[in-house]
Symmetry: C3
Subunit: 314 residues, 3 copies
């Protein structure tokens, strides 16, 4: 079993309930991971993903080994047929099988380069890890998706679900740097599987890859989109059409309490790290409607639910 | 329970004896830490603190997760209300609660900037970690204090205590760089709680913050200060009055055997790392009166005594 | 017991069989490492060595602590009598005993500088770690040798040993950088202890230190050397005579299937990381005769056999 997308989970609702159950008895399955090793490979920085995945694995009795690639280890080559007379020291075709023979499950974080849409969309790094490790693969965020985050987000919305069919809004927010699409794509992909009304709002030119946004309604007027919202997910991403470009830094898109006036007392979500007062205002982050810390806490149980299922299928 | 200063310990003498007892049976309390996680955050380099705290936690059966901030993770912002459009990626107000929700105890190393006395004295980094993690806080050295070091130093002096009331001298030593005051402040703060005669000696202008040096006698003549000493603690620090400045590099302050002639066969102490033949001479470090390795070894049992008490109070 | 060279192992053949037995029951000796700590010090990058040694230790029930020297910790000084007024912050004479008092076994990776033959041949870094930690020392590759690699190589050859007395060829390969001699020296040293015909082939000027190559036959004609080979070990190294220099980048020395035509269906070995299509061709690495992944996998059981023996002798 790999975990790279919502499409790896047949029954999202049941899976979310399993994660919520693990939250109550996190140490109930320590026998499952005994003498099993999780290998975590970080090609990019990480705080929540690094810690929550380690703790989830330890809760299940697993050992964890960590590779901070390019820092502790050797610079990796991903090009097939490369004549390696440059800066890269080891090919993924050689390194990945070693990881696969040492570990029972492999987690990898590999951000997109944001230079070539075709390269990033092909997930060429993730695919090669999957192909050459030949072990269950746990995405710690890939070029296009961040499924552990989205599972945690889905758990958080389930815990706060109103009695009525909820209205969920994913809103673009300003940022100073070109940011990957993975969290937004992934949130869209998961939310499209839920029994909710789902709206995505962003300035024109920021349309997500339709492979992930699917049938979600797109509304360019943020204020209109927010009307009646129960959950507002805030996230910046760079343009997909003009790939990796910043098209707008319109600060009026940054949510304040004022923006939420016509929502249904909406709970506000963000995956963190968040640039305060650029992406999202202090008053919301520090106010009573923020769910960001609950989302972060649920990262542990999201990872634990996935690892538990992988261990059961080893 | 937090551990940031000697003021967190009501009965220093009993606590020291507890640590000495743990040294004899380090694995006697492994049930205490079962399924508990210690999170260690390093904003600065560390050898002894990193390893001794890990080993102390493992001796108690805890799991340990480590964040090398700014390297493995995201650059942190500490300013309230900051508009985060610069180099920092995550605010302590968001990162710290995540650490708090993942871990049962949080240890943080945060050196002073040595640029602003007011900022460093306020312990603004440590205070924010304490405020926002909402979990027991273990100082791995802060801007002004290094209590785990001082506890280890106190244990070491207890193990070598002469029959008479000991004379303890803290002497400044030369160095090539501006060095924090934490070890010296902390040693003074702890030693002021012991039944000893305590003298601090340094060139004029190197007076420590009186909040920590308290009623200790200050003697500017090093040779006079050393007379009859049982323990000599060697340490460089930068000026506190002219904050963070180097006022002297007078090499005559570097201890050699000659300096110790009028002591009471004084045992010599240093927290390590030490710049040999700048702060302290080879002949002392490699001679029979050095206690530096015993201090380092006691770091494990200092950390273990503190973690044990924290676990008992969870 | 230290493990720095084949000379630390009295009976290589028995030891190899012990490692092969551990491969079948890796968790059979977890009581041996209970409450024992392995300290790993990396002065250089590492993937296989880092992970395989950690996993071997965990298989034996040990705790592992890791120091990435110069990154997580303090820059080390190795010169006796140094006046430390430069970039180094801590002397090996102070740091190593601390590691020794914290850990039960110490593993160190310390590559050569390739600037001074005398300095590297003296193994001045490794010797000081051994001298000052005063604990069993596990070489994770030193200036001149890489015995864990060679033990894994020897295990791999034992698993694929033909019925007849095998012919083993160590062949030099091109590279773009000056590379240490450790893997080649070490392979020669171990293979000289086996019941095999052993040939070393390289361009003139690339003779290894005869202390390690011993009585192995040297053949400058690669094609002649490869005739009838059962195992071909491919490795670059810089000149030992003109110490640390690159004397040849003759690409005809890079093995392709064509080179292997007159061998006895030779199995091809390399320690990894390998620069593809510089040191060794894709067609061999991805072909049916490559043993590189089996060598890598055996690194776990090589380390485990050594650690098991060390633990039994504590």
């Amino acid at each position: 079993m790999n975990f790279t997308s919502v499409t790896d989970i047949l029954d999202v609702e049941t899976f979310v309930q399993e994660a919520i159950a693990l939250k109550k008895t996190p140490f109930a399955f320590q026998h499952l991971g005994k003498n099993k090793t999780l290998g975590l490979v970080f090609l990019n920085p990480s705080l929540r993903t690094r810690l929550s995945t380690q703790i989830a694995a330890q809760n299940l009795g697993m050992n964890v080994v960590i590779v901070n690639a390019d820092k502790d280890s050797w610079a990796l080559e991903f090009q097939d047929g490369a004549v390696m007379d440059g800066n890269t020291v080891e090919h993924i075709r050689d390194a990945a099988p070693v990881l696969g023979s040492y570990c029972d499950i492999i987690g990898v974080r590999c951000f997109p380069g944001l230079l070539s849409k075709a390269v990033d969309d092909s997930e060429h790094i993730m695919r090669q890890f999957i192909q050459w490790t030949n072990k269950p693969y746990l995405s710690l965020e890939s070029a296009t998706l961040h499924p552990l985050q989205s599972l945690a987000d889905t758990i958080t919305m389930a815990e706060h679900r109103p009695a009525h069919r909820p209205r969920v809004v994913l809103t673009w927010a300003p940022h100073i740097k070109p940011i990957p699409h993975a969290v937004a794509n992934s949130f869209a992909e998961w939310t499209n599987r839920l029994e909710v009304d789902f709206v995505i709002t962003h300035p024109e030119g920021y349309e997500l890859n339709p492979r992930f946004s699917g049938n979600a309604r797109i509304e360019y007027n943020q204020q209109k989109a927010l009307e009646g919202a129960d959950f507002v997910y805030v996230k910046n991403w760079s343009s997909y059409a003009e790939y990796g470009k910043i098209l707008s830094q319109d600060t009026s898109w940054m949510l304040t309490n004022k923006h939420l006036e016509n929502t249904n007392n909406a709970r506000v979500m963000h995956c963190l790290p968040v640039r305060r007062n650029v992406e999202l205002s202090d008053e919301i982050l520090d106010g009573p409607y923020s769910l960001v810390q609950e989302q972060a806490k649920n990262r542990v149980f999201a990872a634990q639910a996935v690892l538990k299922r992988m261990l059961e299928n080893l």
